[in-house]
Symmetry: C2
């Protein structure tokens, strides 16, 4: 049975996170992702921790960061600074469906592979660029460097995230990179449908700032309609109360989202404070939100009467919604996430088993899956030149000798 | 020129956020999304603020929340509790490509539209469900209620987000809902490719918890390899220093991500503290991260010497990366976001112009776009029954009289 995206070939010029995340999703869903990395260092993220040492005691260490977002890809190590290297890339693009990169906006042009050039090589190619502010920008934005951190700050998401009145807070993972990666996948798959109808490729221009602006949700209309500038609210919801985290007697936190008036009644009974339910100041959600400043301290005091575990059992018995604030050790051990293959063990050559995040695409016929571990630098160089480009052994040997391409063995040099 | 997804018909049974966000993306990219809403109230989110009053002084008010995530959709108001209503839904599914819903896992079965039933109606249908923990779960997870808040807490993301040592913090928008919406789009588009090869539909089972686990990034391998349980770090990066927000003399914040040693040298010169660069304790990124506790307070004091605006000019002149922490009013006014159609004005009948977020899919041939404003409840009921299902006027009239379907005029009753 074919994978959903089997048959698609992706030329992957990405590094670090946003781009590799996009091509990981394509690879998890079955595309043949051929990742091109520069000699010696490879993708910068091969130097990012956590590191895991090889099992044979040789002392080399490998990046768990790289491994976790480059599974299912093949790897060719190629020097794009050489004319021969560029020619190999041209031949790869000629036969590919998709090119993905996350350089700064001008880098592809400097390399000689602008979108115009890509189209002249292969008019059906779908070219996806991912960068901070986008390729098509006002002039003063075109050369601004951008990291995930800058996208989180510039997009407004950071201005709404954090404790009440407190310092700004970054979302604890690089959500600007990762979201742009997901959006890039959508743009690419949509462009493929257009290509089927017309035969034409196109440029999918993804920006990390745009990506995070797209998740601001009702914050934009709250400002444009009501002129309210949203501020950080800790764990609280702007318009639903009580709907936030509370600390229990043992110092652990649980979130208790009481989303409507029926749940409110049950909640008051559950915490043995029916007087709150009969208090007209707290009768409706709007009133509870209006009187948040008197109501929340009362609930906070009540929540200190039991441990988090006790509360969860009590809330569960009453059918109320709640969740512990799981730390990562608990998440990794969660049986349902294991059941859904969201936490998986991968047998990684040279270093052993690594536990990482799986694919969130649970589809009954073509689930996203991890078929192969992340490649070593140059691991598939020969196979790609031979099988994908049809080069003979002699040509490949001379390309290796001329240091245009590199194989995994070069690592041992 | 066709839109990327033109020709696809989506039967949209979604409400509030995760589901409607998914079908909004499909609609923005050109799919014909037919949203089914229940009589009288419609989608719950029609009751969510901010509200905007109708211009004719009639006093009715409409939800800006609903409008911002339901543009480009058509609307049929249909009572699915009636046998006749269910029959209309069956006929719609027979002719559709995709069904999307975000009920609790058992609701579709209770309605008589389990995946098994959907397949018997239309074997090529792609069925996408979005819920908290997924449809395919261990038994004890199957009936757990889930909101975005629960997904943020359960997934571990909340445990990594917040000030150092401080209380937990929710990402300021409903990222669990929205990310699941984006992932649902990817699952659907991938399933369409599989269907083209095989003629078969399938079930895309999206979980909000899975979705947020997929963005934990290196946090999972940091735990599984190094046994480090990631904790909240404010705006700081776990392994890069200095790479965080600093407060300027005027109390405004700017993020300054100094991502490598070359930038560090420039930064020290820029803030006139070359002594920091020559200090061996701060020579490399690893050393700076190790000595974060002495280094950061020094930089914090330096940053208090100029206003945010002055600092941004200084950093810009030295080519250093930075960003203001934009609040939503600044984001809405940003000229580049306007240029990229990420902030757009929509002419919304009855209420006037509304400024909202655009589509992040900037594609040169088929950009995501807003073609029609969000529909009133039942706005397209007659048109859908007539043009899509081929009902005659007489049948439609009797369905209206029998209160199986409702038109926008019913709102005036």
């Amino acid at each position: 049975m074919p994978d959903a995206l089997s048959g698609l070939v992706v030329v992957d010029l990405t590094h670090v996170l946003a781009g590799p995340y996009c091509t990981m999703v394509l690879a998890d869903l079955g595309a043949d992702v051929i990742k091109i990395e520069p000699p010696h260092t490879g993708d910068d993220s091969r130097a990012y921790g956590p590191f895991i040492e090889e099992q044979n005691g040789g002392g080399r260490r490998y990046s768990g960061y790289y491994m976790s977002i480059n599974r299912n890809k093949r790897n060719i190590c190629l020097d794009l600074k050489t004319a021969c290297g560029k020619e190999i890339l041209r031949e790869m693009i000629k036969k590919a469906d998709i090119v993905v990169e996350n350089f700064r906006p001008t880098t592809m042009e400097k390399l000689g592979f602008s979108f115009h050039e890509l189209q002249s090589i292969n008019p059906a190619i779908i070219y996806c660029s991912i960068c901070g502010f986008g390729h098509d920008t006002l002039p003063e934005y075109s050369s601004r460097p951008a990291y995930d951190m800058i996208a989180q700050a510039f997009s407004g998401l950071m201005s709404m995230t954090g404790p009440v009145g407190g310092p700004p807070v970054r979302v604890g993972s690089s959500i600007g990179d990762i979201l742009a990666g997901y959006q890039a996948v959508i743009g690419i798959l949509a462009a493929l449908r257009y290509r089927e109808k017309t035969g034409e490729g196109q440029h999918v221009d993804i920006s990390m700032v745009d990506g995070l602006v797209s998740v601001l949700e009702n914050a934009v209309v709250r400002y444009t309609i009501d002129k309210e500038v949203p501020a950080p609210l800790g764990t609280a919801h702007p318009t639903i109360t009580p709907f936030q985290a509370f600390m229990a007697a043992d110092g652990k936190w649980i979130v208790i989202p009481i989303g409507n008036d029926a749940l409110w009644q049950t909640f008051c009974t559950t915490i043995r404070r029916d007087d709150l339910f009969s208090n007209p100041e707290y009768l409706t959600n709007d009133l509870r939100t209006e009187h948040r400043e008197t109501l929340i301290p009362i609930i906070e005091r009540e929540m200190l009467k039991h441990t988090a575990q006790e509360w969860m059992e009590i809330l569960d018995a009453h059918g109320l919604p709640y969740s512990p604030i799981n730390s990562i050790d608990t998440v990794v051990a969660d049986p349902n996430l294991r059941h859904r293959n969201m936490i998986v063990d991968i047998d990684q050559p040279r270093v052993g088993t690594i536990t990482m995040t799986g694919s969130p695409f649970r589809m009954d016929k073509t689930p996203g899956s991890i078929r192969t571990p992340a490649p070593f630098l140059g691991e598939n160089t020969v196979e790609i030149l031979e099988q994908y480009l049809g080069y003979d052994r002699e040509t490949i040997s001379s390309l290796i000798n001329e240091r245009v391409v590199f194989t995994a063995d070069c690592e041992d040099e």
